[in-house]
Structure formats: structure tokens, C-alpha cells
Amino acid sequence: MSVPTVSPRGVAETRRMLAGHMNELGLLAIIVILYGVFGALSPGFLSANNQVNILRDGATIGIAAWAQTLVIVAGEIDISVGPMVAFIAVIMAFLMKVPVPLPFALIGGVVLGLCLGSLAGVLRAIFSVPSFVATLGLWSALRGLALFMTNALPVTFDDNDTLDWIGDNVFGLPVSAVVMVILFGVFVFVSRKTAFGRSVYAVGGNANAAHLCGINVTRIRILVFAISGLMAAITAIMLLARLGSGNAGAASGLEFDVIAAVVVGGTSLSGGRGSMLGTLLGVLTITVIGDGLVLYGINSFVQDVVRGVIIVVAVLLNVAASRRSGRHV
């Protein structure tokens, strides 16, 4: 027979690959639909300028979302993101005001983020405080502390060229978006290709099995929260650069957006399952919806309604698609 056929093995392979990524494909389809609809509705939506905005807004959610993915995959949750970002930004602003040289101020913020994250991690891993409670405590305490220290007024400091550069664009792309993309690469690598990353999945999937196989569960748990704190610090730097001042009230509700992006991306809140790519698409979905609705110019309250509906519908379609592909895990 001379008809060339795709080798059955090849077909099966491809099908398996696709089935394994049904979730991501579904989200991609949803994003494409959103682009189509918004592009048709509002002329400015597809402009390069607006795409850059989407990237920049995405960076605020994204950077924290990469870490949150690890946290949720490990079977935990970190709701302290928003206040932590604001608090660290305020502290860095105070440092800049002294003035401490920029690098030291930033390093100070990063160390602070690591410490605060680790604190939550230690409470969870060593003292067995549920992570929702531990980070709820931080959520309340950090927001209060930041507001108290600043009297809810912005903390300003002298202009700094490097910081301005961080808040600006390179080659037409926002620096924050570039940082987000680089960090995405790092997190994809860490989550797939390092012992630590796989240990996070193991701990979230079956902490007992992970322990029995010699994985230090306590360490992994502390680390994921420390990383979450670190990413909050990096988000804080981006925010500081963008706003040019430290604002205690900033990043309000960020934790909601971040967790929503991760969950929309298909990561299960019960742990063990999830992917960075899914989260990336979740971040895009959330950001595109937000941006597109503003551009379309409907009433700002109605935007909330539409956003809520779209998120549910997106996940609904995605679940239905994944189910049909037979992966009803």
C-alpha cells in the first residue's frame, strides 16, 4: 500500500499529549475568544499600546501567581499577598527616603519578603497552624502596619533613575512584563526540572508518601511560602517603580486576583495538581477581561458582574472540555 499513513504510535502520542494539555488548550481557546470579542467591540483593544498595558497589568498578578501556584500545588494557600506587597513597598519607600542607596533598599525589601513568607511557612509547617489562618493573620497585620506607619499617606522619595527605568519600558515592553516572563521561565524550570519543584508536587499530592520517601516536608512547606514572600517583594519593587511612592493601600484585593488566576488556570485547591502554563493562561484571562471591559466602557459596576460571569463560564467550558477528553480525575 502506497498511501502514506501517520504511524499509529505517532497519532497516539500526539493525542495523549493533547489530552494531557486539554486544560491549557481550553483556556487558550477562551483567551482567543475573548480577544475576538473585545477586538470587535472596542477598536483600541488590539492596539500595540493596549497589549503592552495588558502585559504590565498581567505582571502585577503574574509574578505573585507563579509563587502562589507552587503554594497551592503544595496543598496550601497564601492570602497575604496584597498586604504583603503594599507593606514591603512602603518599607522600601521609607528606606529610599532616608536615603538608603537603591540596591540596599531593594535588597532590604527582598529580605523582608523572604522573612515574612518564611514566618507564614514556619507557622504552617512547624506549628501546624492552617495556612489560611497563618496568612490571614499576616494579611490583617501587614495592611494595618503599613497604614499605621504611613497614616495612609504615600511615602515619597527623591527621583531615582534606575527605579524609573524599572517602571518604564525596554524595547517597547514594560520592564515588569519582562521580569514576569523571565520569572515564568524560572518557575516552569523549577517546577518541572528540579528536585525541589517535583517535591512540591509530591508534598501536595501525598504528604505522607513524600515524607516516607525521604522528602523533607517541613522544608518544602517553609520554602514555598518563602518564595511567595520573595515574589511579593519583587511585585512590590515593580509597584514602587510604577507609582513612584510607597502606598499602604495599594494592591488591595490582589490576593483574590492571584488565587483566581491560579484556580482558573486549572490548579486544584486541594493540592498536588497544577501547572505554570495553566496559571499563565489564567493570569491572561483575568487581565484581558479586566482590560477589555474598561475599554468597552460599560458601567464600572456592571464590569464586576460581567467579570464574575466570564470567569465562571471560562472554567465551566474548560471543565467540560477536559471531561470530554476523558480526564475526569
Partner: protein
């Protein structure tokens, strides 16, 4: 043999307490290189606890744990890793796989092959495939373990234990969900490892395997070592063994020709009474399965089940016995065929509908699908039918208690109190509760999938008795088991599922384990 050899693993008067129980009571234990040691004892005797001390999963309250003569260097969480690095591998009794990870990743859990600090997925898959092949498995190592049947998961864990060059392999009931062919593979692997100088600890409730495999056996009872003795007389450690009972020396046995009955007696601490041979009157047909097909596993399954009958289904692993039960219960959709209950033809069974027709079903994975871990024994029993324990829409504590007590007493469930969370019971007792809840529901037709998994000899015998007694009441039982030997003990009739059809039928009293096994393989 060099006399200077150190034990691979050793416990010196190790004690481990849990709230309310002393799991290990000043136990001395050691195992030498190249030795295959069986660890025997009833459910709750302390076997798994002993193992968890050796692997560093838990630390002893007092006493010493030595690996190759040296104590642990690390503390707490880090011990499991140290044990692994010192050549210890273990298959734990509870499945310790991560369902959302691939077979390959699970096999190297926590110890993934790396190239320049980066995980080498390709090498991992290769090595995993090779290790699986050595156990006669042709599974794709990239599959998620969560999608595997229990038996396949168990095999993956066993393959994990034989990776690399282990010095001590611990297998805690590795074959509880395996059938004969797989057990052979496991036995081969154990012998190979022992020949290469590794020590093997083998926990099992299946006496036949112990006889095939073990050089020596440690019998545990009530947290103490009752005796260490030679099983086959091949490479004996001692000519005599001391049997301890309740902390005191009870008797000394000659071990060269240790008989199974003696070993059982040591485990139980008493002589097992002979059970009366079962008889029950076979009644009318209650269930007819007609031409059920679900390619590629099931092609055309037809059989009848009668009231008062215990019908066994034998088959190799993956022959589709679980699927068959699930189809009958309405948990799965067949591509063809139907079931008939008494005179009613049911094209599309639904689970609830089958329950209402008096069906009861116990799944093969007790932990995942059977028990509600944190609920009490009583509530786990009444879960199948609340209406029997409600008075005017309100659950009556008295009714719950009496309903639960009836079942607990009838099935000899050993539990401190009725409201004890079921997860704290031994496996055998959990299984009795899972069966008992259908007695509570008054089911007339019971579909039992591997009901004796991980259950000790005594409890097994009790479960057989329960099943026979149920049949004697006129109930019908469909009994699926991978332990061929037990089929001839309980069943009136055994059907062999092979190549998607019921290939053979064996009728009591001419059911014979050897012939059944041959029939399964075909």
C-alpha cells in the same frame, strides 16, 4: 558465611507507644545480609510499627535502632532520607504514591535522577521502564499513577523497592492486592535481591508465600516478638526459637520443621479451632448477567447467581473482574448486555437502583472508596441506610448504637468503642465494617471485591465465616479474590474470567487452587 557480619538492621529493646496502645514493647530484632525474613502476626501486632522505626518514618520512644550497626545520625523528618541513602527501601502497607505524578516520578520519589542538578526525565523513564520490565510489567512510565488500578499501583511501589542496589528491602504486605502471576514475579525479585546480598523483610498474611520465600520468620504478638524461627530449615539462624507470649517465655520450639499450624498458633496465642465445613441450600436465581461486553476487557460475560450461593470469580490481574462488578452495580456503562434481577430485566443499571433492589457492594480499595476515615465505626455502618435508625426524621442515638452494635458483635469487629474513628482500626476490622454496613442495609445480594485484602489469618477466617453465614441466610454473594486459595474455602462455585469471557466453571467440592490457577492463565 563470615561470622563477623553485622546485622543489616537491628532494634534493641525498642518501645513505641501511641495514645492508648503500646505498639512495640521492648522489642529486640535483627536481620542479617542475604536473609529473607518473614514478619508475621495478627492485625495490630506491631509489624508496620516495627518497620516504621527501621525506616526512620517514626522514632522509638526508647531503645535503639541500628542500620548496619550504626544509629541514625539525623533526627525527625530527615531520617527517612538518611535511611534511603543507607540502602534501605520500603513498600509501606498504605499506598505511598502521589496520584498526580507519573509512574517514573513516583518510582524515584525524592531521589530523582539528575544531570547537572537538572532532573533527567528521559533517564528516569528509561530506568523506570527497565525496573518495571524486571517485574514483568509493561506499563508506560509516563502514565499518572492516579489512573492505575490498585494492583498496578502496588506493582509500581514494589518496583521502586528493588531499584538500584538495596541493602535492605522491606515489603509490608506487598501482595495484598496481587494475583498469583504477579506474586511469582515479586518472589523472583526477592530471591534475586537476597542472592545479591540484600536482606529482605517480608510482611504477609498469606502463609503460602511465606513458605515459598522466607528463610526465617519473626512472629509478633501484642507488640512483642513471640518467636523467631526458621521456616524451611535452609539457612537457619538458630536451632531453636523462643516463643514469647505476654512478655514471658512460653515455650521453645524446634524450628527445622516448623509447621504452618504452629506458626499460626504462635500468632494467635491459641490453637485455631477447625471451622465447620460450609453448607447452604442453593435457591432460585437472583441475578443473571447476560452478554455483558466492554471491549477490550470484557467480551461476552454470562452467568447466574443464586440465592444462598457464594460465587467466586477468579482471574488474572487486569482480567476485568472489578469492571464486571462495577457494571453490574451501575457504576460503569457496558457496551452491550444487560443484567436481570430475579425477573426484572435492567438495561441500564443505576447504582442507587441496584441498592434499592437489595444489592451491596464493597470496593477493592478500602481506604480510597470504602471508609469515611474520621467518622466513627457506628456511623460508617449506618451510612448505607439512615432510615433504619431515624425516628420521625431524627437520628436516634439509641437506634444507631443498637444497629452498630448488632453488626459489630455479629462480625466480631474489634474496636474500643462504637464511636471510635474507623481509621484507627486495623485493616481487617475496617473491612468487616465495610461488609457490615450492607448487613445493616439488609442487602440480599453482595458483591465483594477483594474483601480480605490486608486482613490477618484470623480475621480472614472470620470473614469467610461471615460470608458463609450470610449465604446460609439465603443471601447471594459474588466473591472476587486474587488469593486463589481462599476461593476454595468459601465458594460454592468459581467462575474463571479469561480473555473477556467466563472460560471455566469449578463447582465445590472439586475446587482446587492449582487447577484454578492453571485455568486463570489459560
Amino acid at each position: 558465611m563470615t561470622g563477623a557480619q553485622l546485622p543489616v538492621a537491628e532494634l534493641r529493646s525498642a518501645t513505641k507507644r501511641y495514645p492508648g496502645v503500646i505498639a512495640l514493647d521492648e522489642v529486640d530484632f535483627s536481620v542479617m545480609p542475604g536473609e529473607v525474613r518473614a514478619v508475621l502476626g495478627k492485625n495490630g501486632a506491631g509489624k508496620s510499627t516495627l518497620i516504621r522505626l527501621l525506616t526512620g518514618a517514626e522514632s522509638a520512644d526508647s531503645g535503639e535502632v541500628l542500620l548496619s550497626g550504626k544509629p541514625f545520625v539525623e533526627f525527625g523528618q530527615r531520617r527517612t532520607r538518611e535511611a534511603a541513602e543507607r540502602g534501605l527501601r520500603a513498600v509501606y502497607q498504605e499506598l505511598s504514591l502521589v496520584p498526580s505524578m507519573t509512574i517514573a516520578e513516583n518510582m524515584f520519589l525524592g531521589n530523582w535522577p539528575r544531570r547537572r542538578r537538572v532532573l533527567d526525565h528521559r533517564a528516569m523513564a528509561e530506568q523506570a521502564r527497565e525496573a518495571l520490565r524486571r517485574l514483568g510489567l509493561s506499563l508506560d512510565p509516563r502514565l499518572l499513577t492516579g489512573t492505575l488500578a490498585p494492583a498496578a499501583r502496588q506493582m509500581v511501589e514494589i518496583a521502586r523497592a528493588f531499584l538500584g542496589v538495596p541493602r535492605l528491602v522491606i515489603l509490608d504486605e506487598p501482595t495484598s492486592s496481587l494475583a498469583a502471576a504477579e506474586v511469582d514475579q515479586v518472589c523472583n525479585a526477592v530471591r534475586e535481591a537476597a542472592a545479591a546480598g540484600a536482606a529482605v523483610l517480608y510482611v504477609s498474611h498469606r502463609m503460602s508465600e511465606i513458605r515459598r520465600l522466607a528463610d526465617t520468620a519473626t512472629v509478633m504478638r501484642d507488640g512483642r516478638v513471640a518467636s523467631t524461627l526458621s521456616v524451611a530449615g535452609a539457612r537457619t539462624l538458630a536451632d531453636t526459637a523462643t516463643v514469647m507470649r505476654d512478655g514471658r517465655v512460653a515455650s521453645t520450639l524446634s524450628v527445622a520443621g516448623a509447621r504452618t499450624e504452629d506458626i499460626i498458633q504462635m500468632m494467635l496465642g491459641r490453637v485455631e479451632q477447625a471451622r465447620p465445613a460450609h453448607t447452604s441450600a442453593i435457591g432460585k436465581t437472583t441475578l443473571s448477567v447476560e452478554g455483558i461486553a466492554m471491549p477490550p476487557k470484557l467480551r461476552n460475560i454470562t452467568f447466574d447467581l443464586h440465592a444462598g450461593e457464594v460465587l467466586g470469580i477468579a482471574g488474572l490481574l487486569g482480567s476485568g473482574r472489578t469492571e464486571l462488578l462495577e457494571i453490574v452495580m451501575g457504576l460503569r456503562l457496558p457496551s452491550a448486555g444487560s443484567v436481570r434481577v430475579r425477573d426484572e430485566k435492567i438495561a441500564k443499571p443505576s447504582y442507587k437502583g441496584m441498592m434499592q433492589r437489595g444489592f451491596g457492594y464493597t470496593p477493592e480499595s478500602r481506604k480510597e472508596d470504602g471508609i469515611v476515615p474520621l467518622l466513627g465505626v457506628d456511623e460508617n455502618i449506618v451510612l448505607t441506610d439512615f432510615s433504619r435508625v431515624t425516628r420521625g426524621g431524627v437520628l436516634s442515638s439509641a437506634a444507631v448504637e443498637s444497629a452498630a452494635r448488632t453488626v459489630v458483635e455479629r462480625l466480631h469487629v474489634k474496636t474500643a468503642r462504637l464511636e471510635t474513628p474507623i481509621v484507627t482500626l486495623s485493616g481487617g476490622n475496617q473491612q468487616k465494617v465495610v461488609i457490615g454496613r450492607w448487613i445493616h442495609a439488609g442487602s440480599r445480594i453482595l458483591l465483594l471485591d477483594e474483601p480480605t485484602r490486608g486482613v490477618d489469618i484470623e480475621a480472614k477466617a472470620q470473614i469467610y465465616d461471615i460470608i458463609r453465614a450470610l449465604a446460609a441466610e439465603g443471601r447471594a454473594v459474588l466473591f472476587v479474590s486474587s488469593e486463589i486459595e481462599e476461593l476454595d474455602q468459601v465458594c460454592d462455585r468459581v467462575l474463571v474470567l479469561r480473555d473477556g469471557v467466563m472460560a471455566e466453571e469449578h463447582i465445590a467440592p472439586s475446587i482446587d487452587a492449582e487447577r484454578l490457577l492453571a485455568a486463570c492463565i489459560g
